[in-house]
Symmetry: C2
Subunit: 365 residues, 2 copies
Amino acid sequence: MPITPRLLLGPGPSTAHPRVLAALATPLVGHLDPQFLALMDEVQERLRRLFGTQNALTLPLSATGSAGMEACLVNLLEPGDAIVVGVAGVFGERMCDVAARAGARVTRVDAEWGTALSPDAMGDAIAKARPKAVAFVHAETSTGVLQPVEPIARAAKKAGALLILDCVTSLGGIPVTLDAWGVDAAYSGTQKCLSCPPGLSPVSFSPRAVESVLARKTKVQSWYLDVSMLARYYGGERVYHHTAPISMIYAIAEALRVVDEEGMPARAARHRAAAAALIEQLAPLGFTPLVAPEVRLPSLTTLRVPERVIAAGEAKLRRRLLDEHDIEVGGGLGKLAGSVWRVGLMGENATVESVTHLERALGQL
Amino acid sequence: MPITPRLLLGPGPSTAHPRVLAALATPLVGHLDPQFLALMDEVQERLRRLFGTQNALTLPLSATGSAGMEACLVNLLEPGDAIVVGVAGVFGERMCDVAARAGARVTRVDAEWGTALSPDAMGDAIAKARPKAVAFVHAETSTGVLQPVEPIARAAKKAGALLILDCVTSLGGIPVTLDAWGVDAAYSGTQKCLSCPPGLSPVSFSPRAVESVLARKTKVQSWYLDVSMLARYYGGERVYHHTAPISMIYAIAEALRVVDEEGMPARAARHRAAAAALIEQLAPLGFTPLVAPEVRLPSLTTLRVPERVIAAGEAKLRRRLLDEHDIEVGGGLGKLAGSVWRVGLMGENATVESVTHLERALGQL
């Protein structure tokens, strides 16, 4: 495949680990092969550790992170159910759209893009709506904000609501502790801090969330994402539901081994150090962080682009970075399009070397 | 990845082509990288050729074949819409379940498992229900029946209904000609006759189907599978929807090149020859085909298991084939469990050599 490799410093995919790429090329076996089932068990156990949970229903969903979002929402919501969604970027917006398509009554609590959600505003909305579920994004990929989880989790718990958390850009780069936080359903993607190709969505459902699914009055609207059926394959009965994506399971197995070998404390420290280096090294070039230090996401940094770059066309500069230096960085999404860059230092790329490559390339443009 | 390779002669996945496995290990690029977009264009063009269609909206969906089924049904059906589904196996049953979850009024037309649908029965049901859509399975993986498409397509056309066709086990092994047949929406999988790993679902929507989606009164219930949004990325605008599964797109690109190099006439002849050899070579061992010759599927053959094997436990024999000879064959699904084997000779494995391996191994058990 004649593809020029890139240093992937955008919002994802990140560069995959060489061991993960090698795992992808492993010959296929069947989805009921004992070798494959043992590997799936290993993947589920490693995902539990990484999610910080004992949840039995923890598995790599056979689609990308956006399908993980949909799985959490459509399993836990029935038509007419109320949900409170925190919206501080594209992915919070998306949650509202997905929840509405499931027939839910959505109360949205907005925060300015680039800031965190207000726990008070969320708490007030939760107290008022008494929703079945509360949902928000842990690490908002469109803004680079790391949302503190605990205060909103407390408000959800107080109201007896199920808590749904988007961990797409946090899992594997930032500590995630679902059980300690009291999260009932979470989803992630493989192509961010796990340094694995896109294509799977790790998800986890608490026993309380599973009870809620089993107590539904209506069938889950998505057959493909119905976790009550998925549980019969991934839970050990091995009842056929769909054909698992074998090669991608090889890839995530290897990616999770790499994560466990490093250990999350070291990995999280590496992500923080790389992000700090990025801000420091790009400051002389006029790039300044959009997000306040206390809620700044290490794995993805949103940088305000200097005026001279905006004037010259920031998209052109990104294209030159790609064409002339084989470095990808991301543009802004939604309201932030044209005024910021999103620089992902995720997984294998969360290094000072990545930052130095980018700084040197920018210096030559 | 310490995995013992197998000769995959079950209902899928089939053994992936070595070139496809090599393509999987290609370093990642971004989903908006010009190199990747060019590759995506190539994949879409090759899929059009293979599906026998000019449909612009032809793309590899980022999930497995079952999600392709769901995509076709949930995009074309709104709550209250009528659909006639032909049911002659597990996958026809599944269509009914998925359509009902979309709120459709489902009329099912059953045929005995192992036989084809009756065009007269389908025609009568269509004339009576005047449905918005008609759906059935081209190649029923649970029974090994190849359904003649034309007579049912004529009845659907006469009633002005949209025609939905499951091509999971036909695409790449048997000629598929959506436009000539008048099919409006079709889906397939990668892990059968394309000899590519599971994880993607090639789908195709006719201009009439797209019009129907755009004219909906309600939003498509699945955000992830909403083709009106997918069309904005795959159609050339490149509007971000979800992160495409890069590595699997490398894989399908290479798999489709392999298919095109061989050409469908030669490929279809190879599948037919392998299936004929299977029936001939296993007859002396007491295995007899379930399906009548005129509707027998070449890519997947359902064989009645001899009484002595049923008595000894057919599952045990399959397990010994796997453990002692590294050959996987499939058991029966649903009503056929315990009494038949499903032998897939798909893609790279559609050879007389595969059959000889299986025959020799069975002789040693």
